[in-house]
Amino acid sequence: MSVPNQTADLQLSRLVTGNGSVLRGPILLFFVSGLFWLLVAVALWLFSAFQVTDPFSPLVFPDVAWLTYGRVYPVAMDLLVYGWVSMIGVGAAIWILDSMAENPLPGGYLPLLAGIIWNLGLVFGVWGVLGGGSTGKEWLEFPIYAAFPIWLAEIIMAIWAVALVIGRRSKAGYISQAFLLTAFIAFAWAYGSANGFLQFFKVSGPAEPAIQWWYFGCLVSLWLTPLGVGMVYHFVPLLIGRPLYSAKLAAISFWGIVAFGGWTGIAQILGAPLPAWIQTVSVVANVLLVVPVLAFATNLHLTMKGSFDLIKPNLALRFLVTGGLVFGLASIWNAITTFRSINRILEFTWAITARTDLFLIGFMTLVCFGAIYYILPRLVGRSWRYTKLIQMHFWFSIVALGTLVFDLTIAGVMQGFGEMDPQVSFAAVIDLGKPFMLGYGLAAIFLGLSALLGLGAFLTVFVNPAWAPDSEEAPEPVINEEVSLA
């Protein structure tokens, strides 16, 4: 099996606004909705963080069903995944696939239609889960009337993407194309069959957890990961004006993620009532997944070598590269915490939550903002004026990520060791993590601030100075004007 060659990604650097006019609508729709859902998600997350930190907080409403923690927190997480990172990922994927195809766009209304249906699905989902229609299965809480529109929108996008790639004028193949197509195919398959099995066919009880956590592995490793990796592989070479360091490493990262990704989810529930081989295979897959992810991170690092200076002035690049390198760390941490000797302590604790947050808030969110900062000025033909705002946004994102992951991990470790000792009552176990849970609330505030800064940066682009595609100046946010990015 071979993998498309990635070097040609570079030649696209000046094609920027080529087909922008047809796609401006759909991409903007996906970006604006993604940011909107991010704000909703973070607000609900903040709300739920205070509820779980302090039971006496005035934010606990024992009389109001739809404000209870068990409904608010899942909605926040689902919006973060299906609203924020997924929609930005799709928006960026439209941009990337289109600019690589070099076609006058066929069926530009399809992504627009998909965006509208997707949003409807999310609205139904929020309504359904807050209103008491949750399925009670983590990451699949959306009831069928919400899951179906999202799935339908994704199918439309998958068909559009495959058709575009098959009918593309430029016959060159790109690594990011391979990743994005994989994402579209895998998500359509995984989300459809997981919801089908669990909500439509009503499988026998013991099979539910296997299907549910198989889906989680696919969601993370075959939908979000390929979207994020695809964005990094596409934008970073464009921004530094240099091809990817190694096509071989890119091929390893692609086939490794595709081969191991689907098996990783069961490790979230080790010790579950499932056949032992399934659990062992899942642990092994999580460990093996480090190889392709490190191949990706190493490739990124080697591509950037000698160009790391550009991270300072070029803010889009800074988001993308930081996100990509965080992904490398996250996958190592993921493998370490999956080992049974460590998992038996940390399982069920906040440290495991932190592991998922590191992926979502560290890798995916940073990369998504990087993609926005690259695409948006080219899309609307304006460059950035308020780069300070974006710089602040970056640092707030890092502080929020650090506080969140650090606090939850420490809380989880305390909790885990407490739980190992049967002499310590369970109430005392929860108490052990409490001081750190205040940090969780703080992290949620930082997250909220960073999302607001991101929104502010997004909105200011519309009042920014116009930018012409043939101008020498880079349209993405660059702090120091003297740095040229030829």
Partner: protein, 207 residues
């Protein structure tokens, strides 16, 4: 084009393997599970889930109980669940074969509920816990679920399942707090969570 179709084909094959192994295979193989019948006593394990409890799945799912409570006991080699007395033995697939829905959970902000029906047998205990968790444990972080209860005027005799509440929680004179049908279903479900029978594939570890 050829290269592209190879790539897509490879994705289908590799991804399909995980789909087969983790979704289709469990779906097919768990459908054929049979209950264990004790050769001497003819007792069937696991027992059937009472009808009232089956109404409780929806309430348990709707309120996101799974966000904080797990429902499986790990083997001694996998964690401290048995030492913590959350079960005498690990849970296995057959424990869940009669459940219409399974909520294993992946977080323990609260205790595991696999055997909550073994340790608590009084519906009143659950009603009080759901109405105001602080009545049971003053330190708990669990929120109250008061919308699962109804404040109604006492007509004739007080309702049998009316909550016994004192102090600030007590209803006004002439009124009583009673569980709604949803609360009754949820509590019936929680009471049914009893994996205290024996299964040959999961012997209880020796002390």
């Amino acid at each position: 084009m050829n290269r592209l179709s190879k790539t897509i084909g490879g994705v289908f094959v590799l991804f399909g393997m995980s789909w087969w192994g983790l979704a289709v295979y469990p779906y097919l193989s768990f459908a054929t599970l049979k209950a264990n019948v004790d050769p001497n006593t003819k007792a069937v394990a696991p027992p059937d889930v009472p009808g009232a409890a089956q109404q409780g799945y929806r309430v348990y799912a709707a309120n996101g109980c799974v966000s904080c409570h797990s429902q499986f006991v790990r083997d001694k080699s996998e964690g401290g669940d048995i030492d913590r007395k959350w079960g005498k033995r690990r849970t296995v697939a057959r424990d869940y074969m009669k459940d219409g829905q399974v909520f294993l959970g992946a977080a323990r902000v609260g205790p595991d509920l696999t055997n909550i029906g073994v340790s608590q047998k009084d519906p009143q205990w659950f009603y009080r816990l759901l109405y105001d968790p602080r009545l049971i444990d003053s330190e708990t972080t669990m929120p109250g679920y008061r919308w699962l209860f109804r404040d109604q005027a006492i007509t004739g005799q007080p309702a049998q399942n009316a909550l016994k509440l004192e102090g600030a929680d007590a209803p006004r004179p002439g009124r009583e707090i009673v569980p709604t049908a949803e609360a009754e279903a949820l509590v019936a479900y929680l009471l049914s969570l009893k994996r205290d029978y024996a299964l040959p594939e999961a012997p209880a570890p020796q002390e």
